[in-house]
């Protein structure tokens, strides 16, 4: 017998946790009730709905204890690498070294949401002249100054070039505060010319060989700096072993996404899937444990699918979601409106695609870095979204805009236009700030209207 999947409140979770003995003996060192994270300041949790499985509890606990892991790593004398912007490539290199832990200070992006617009953090950024015309990543600047949300890394490595302006600008400010950064270049990925030597990248795009080679040289600079810091020379076999591990995580996520998107009824809410996908970036600072967390989730999801149980009924409208949401609450609103997630593109698909193993390790990673959706044209992004809409049979697309983000207005236009031209599905663009409470009703109405539109279309078929 399998427990019926439900989305439950924090209170309900805590009650279930206290009253049931079901978790005894299954707990990890980071386990415990979810409610305790509210005491650490993550007050947004009080307004979210959570999947009621043990695997989901584990997922949340693992996510919300990352700071503890980082401080423990520092205490144990490990090297902390702050890897910035590239989303998924440098951690594979960093974790190839023994006693090195990599994390993304960029993760502070979610602090304004989780801590419900943490006034202190944002006011530090405001006082430094980085106001709300920038995206939520400005919280990272506040976090560097307050020193409260992550330990200051031993080395900071930041990709630049074909990146968003917000991040590049704010990272420069971090450096201006006295934190030296190793900048490495990812050139804008361009369509190879007719007579240019080109190679395939993970995810289906192409790059010319010159650009791949350029990124390899840049990654060499990163490898040198990390080797110096770690006092260990990185061998090809160490790097290959790290790629094998990364691929295990990616394969697990790939399967999870596939099962969730193709199941008759949704076996996992969109919020938990988003959290799981994010773990592919840097393993939430523990690359061994992340695999067990994600495998547990995958197992639960598969069991639900086999048992034919899920959230909502099969009538739920299949939605493809573009861009991460600054307010996690909005993902709950998708299910509340009668939608389910059937495809995602959160700007880090290159951290989900398998890393080629039939190439020299550095070259494989250079190709991954270039496959970053942000490094290329928004037309490439749109093309991949269209493919996945087809693959997962999504019936509608939601493009959530990130407040202040330099790329959103223009990219949103391109994606909307291409999807509208190629796929006969309605597209909704919504603005999602870090706290949506004040216009939750409007948002709910718009999501509801999208779901209704699809239902009407179904009748016509």
């Amino acid at each position: 017998m399998i427990e019926a999947p439900l989305q439950i409140s924090l209170e309900a979770w805590d009650e279930a946790y206290e009253s049931s003995g079901a978790f005894i003996g299954r707990e990890t060192c980071y386990g415990g009730s979810l409610g305790r994270h509210v005491k650490d300041g993550n007050t947004r949790l009080k307004h979210l709905l959570f999947d009621n499985s043990f695997a989901a509890l584990n997922l949340w606990n693992f996510l919300l204890t990352e700071e503890d892991r980082l401080y423990r790593a520092r205490y144990e004398g490990k090297i902390l690498v702050g890897t910035m912007k590239d989303l998924g490539t440098v951690p594979v290199i960093a974790y190839a070294f023994p006693d090195v832990v990599a994390f993304y200070p960029d993760g502070a992006w979610w602090i304004p949401c989780l801590m419900e617009a943490d006034e202190e953090l944002l006011s530090i950024a405001d006082n430094l002249g980085v106001n709300d015309s920038f995206c939520p990543v400005r919280a990272m600047l506040g976090a560097f100054v307050s020193g409260e949300h992550f330990p200051v890394p031993d080395i900071l490595v930041c990709s630049v070039g074909a990146t968003c302006d917000d991040f590049s600008a704010i990272a420069q400010r971090v450096e201006g505060l006295g934190h030296p950064l190793l900048w490495w270049e990812i050139p804008h990925r361009r369509e190879p010319g007719a007579r240019e030597a080109a190679v395939a990248l993970p995810g289906g795009t192409k790059a010319c060989v010159d650009q791949v080679e350029a990124v390899m040289v840049e990654l060499d600079r990163v490898i040198c700096a990390l080797s110096d810091k770690a006092g260990v020379k990185l061998t090809d076999s160490m790097l290959s072993e790290s790629i094998v591990h990364a691929n295990k995580v990616r394969a697990c996520l790939m399967e999870l996404r596939h099962v969730v998107f193709t199941a008759k009824t949704a076996p996992l809410p969109s919020l938990e899937l988003l959290v799981a996908e994010m773990m592919g970036l840097h393993y939430c600072s523990d690359r061994r444990e992340v695999l067990s967390v994600l495998s547990g989730l995958l197992e639960t999801v598969k069991r639900r699918v086999d048992a034919g149980v899920g959230f909502q009924g099969p009538e739920a409208v299949k939605v493809f979601w573009v861009n991460p949401v600054a307010d996690l609450r909005v993902m709950n609103m998708l299910e509340e409106s009668g939608g389910r997630i059937c495809g995602t593109e959160y700007l880090f698909t290159h951290a989900l695609d398998l890393i080629p193993t039939d190439l020299p390790a550095r070259e494989a990673l250079a190709r991954v870095a270039l496959a970053d959706p942000m490094a290329g044209s928004a037309l490439d992004r749109a093309a991949r979204i269209c493919n996945d809409i087809e693959k997962f049979k999504a019936e509608a697309v939601i493009i959530s805009r990130i407040p202040g983000a330099s790329h959103c207005a223009l990219e949103g236009e391109v994606i909307r236009e291409v999807v509208a031209a190629c796929k006969n599905v309605p597209v909704l663009e919504i603005d999602v700030p870090s706290m949506c409470d004040t216009f939750q009703e409007t948002l709910q109405t718009r999501l509801g209207a999208l779901v209704e539109t699809v239902r009407e279309q179904r009748k016509g078929r």
């Binding site: 002249g129 630049v160 074909a162 600008a169 420069q172 050139p187 804008h188 350029a214 928004a378 223009l410």
Partner: protein, 344 residues
């Protein structure tokens, strides 16, 4: 062969606005380079059919530039650069909504590494091929040398005018040079040689690009008793290349251009961006500047984020002017008045 627009009977132009695109290289390939200063009249919002028709969240300089060049029948092709995300995305919109050929030139953000130089040089090569695809011809060394010499001389000549001209007129002269590679004689230009009084307060400008309409700002400052002694905006002399090493030009033209443009022009997008701070501090000290005006556009993160550091780095007051594509409003005029009052 030039691609000729018969209706206008003038050769069509290869249009760009970034200072990192060398016009000499385009001219050496037999095409007409046109470094355009946006007029600032066409910023897109509400102009249906324009490539950039986005209501909010975009830089008005980028949107007006793109809309102007793609709607101008004299445009043969447009070159955008990757120095900011907005321009990069602008290239996507051109590809999606316009038939004008668009070349997106990758300008590395890192600088001072052999790899960054190599990337810029590769882009020059690619730009050369793009010119050929537009009907241009190979850049023969002799022609390149003579074009470089001509540009170099004209560039020095136009820069030497700074002392004779009002800041507004000087900006317009730089604009004319950017568009044509030539220097007007005073008679043709109808320029006022009004020099500020000896009591004028030396003021410098730093920041992003200015549209032609926004050159009025200089006159407003002059009316308030300022003498603009340096123009460190993207429309000013800060964005000029250094002199070419002509001894090496035939042997390694791309390298010489890389040194003069990529390695020499200081800009805010560079990582790290110390060079632009050094440039400004030197100008402020040498010209005994008493106040600095910081020019940025709404939605331009790269300049906006650095405002604080510029203010911090300066020992003189700084006035932040945020431009939104429209004409200068009364409030800005009043702020300029108050700023100048404070400097006296």
């Amino acid at each position: 062969m030039f691609s000729v627009n018969t209706r206008l009977d003038t050769p069509k132009r290869v249009v760009f606005t970034s200072p990192f695109v060398p016009p000499e290289w385009i001219a050496a390939h037999g095409l007409v380079p046109w470094r355009k200063t946006s007029d600032g009249c066409h910023n897109g919002s509400g102009s249906s059919g324009a490539p950039v028709n986005v209501e909010a969240g975009v830089c008005s300089y980028m949107s007006s530039f793109i809309n102007e060049v793609t709607s101008d029948p004299r445009t043969l092709a447009v070159i955008l650069t990757t120095t900011c995300d907005q321009m990069r995305r602008g290239a996507d919109l051109i590809r999606l909504r316009s038939r004008v050929p668009c070349f997106l030139m990758n300008i590395p953000s890192t600088c001072g590494t052999p790899q960054a130089d190599a990337l810029y040089q590769q882009e020059l090569e690619r730009l050369g091929k793009f010119c050929l695809s537009l009907g241009g011809k190979r850049a023969e060394p002799e022609r390149l040398v003579s074009i470089l010499l001509e540009y170099d001389i004209n560039r020095r000549m136009v820069l030497s005018r700074q002392k004779e001209l009002s800041a507004g007129d000087f900006a317009r002269e730089l604009q004319f040079f950017g568009e044509s590679g030539k220097v007007r004689n005073e008679h043709d230009a109808g320029l006022s040689c009004a020099r500020p009084s000896t009591e004028a307060v030396p003021v410098g400008f730093i920041g992003g690009p200015m549209t032609a309409r926004q050159f009025d700002l200089f006159d407003v400052f002059a009316d308030h008793g300022a003498e603009i002694v340096f123009n460190g905006t993207e429309s000013g002399e800060r964005a000029f290349p250094s002199r070419f090493d002509l001894r090496r030009i035939t042997a390694e033209p791309e390298r010489v251009l890389t040194e003069a443009y990529f390695s020499a022009i200081p800009d805010v997008f560079q990582r790290p961006n110390d060079r632009i701070f050094s440039w400004m501090e030197k100008e402020v000290a040498e010209r005994r500047v008493r106040g600095v005006v910081f020019i940025r556009h709404v939605w331009c993160d790269k300049w906006h984020a650095e405002l604080f550091r510029f203010r911090d780095a300066l020992k003189v007051p700084l006035l932040d002017i945020e431009l939104d594509g429209g004409r200068m409003n009364e409030r800005t005029r009043n702020r300029i008045g108050a700023f100048m009052e404070g400097l006296r």
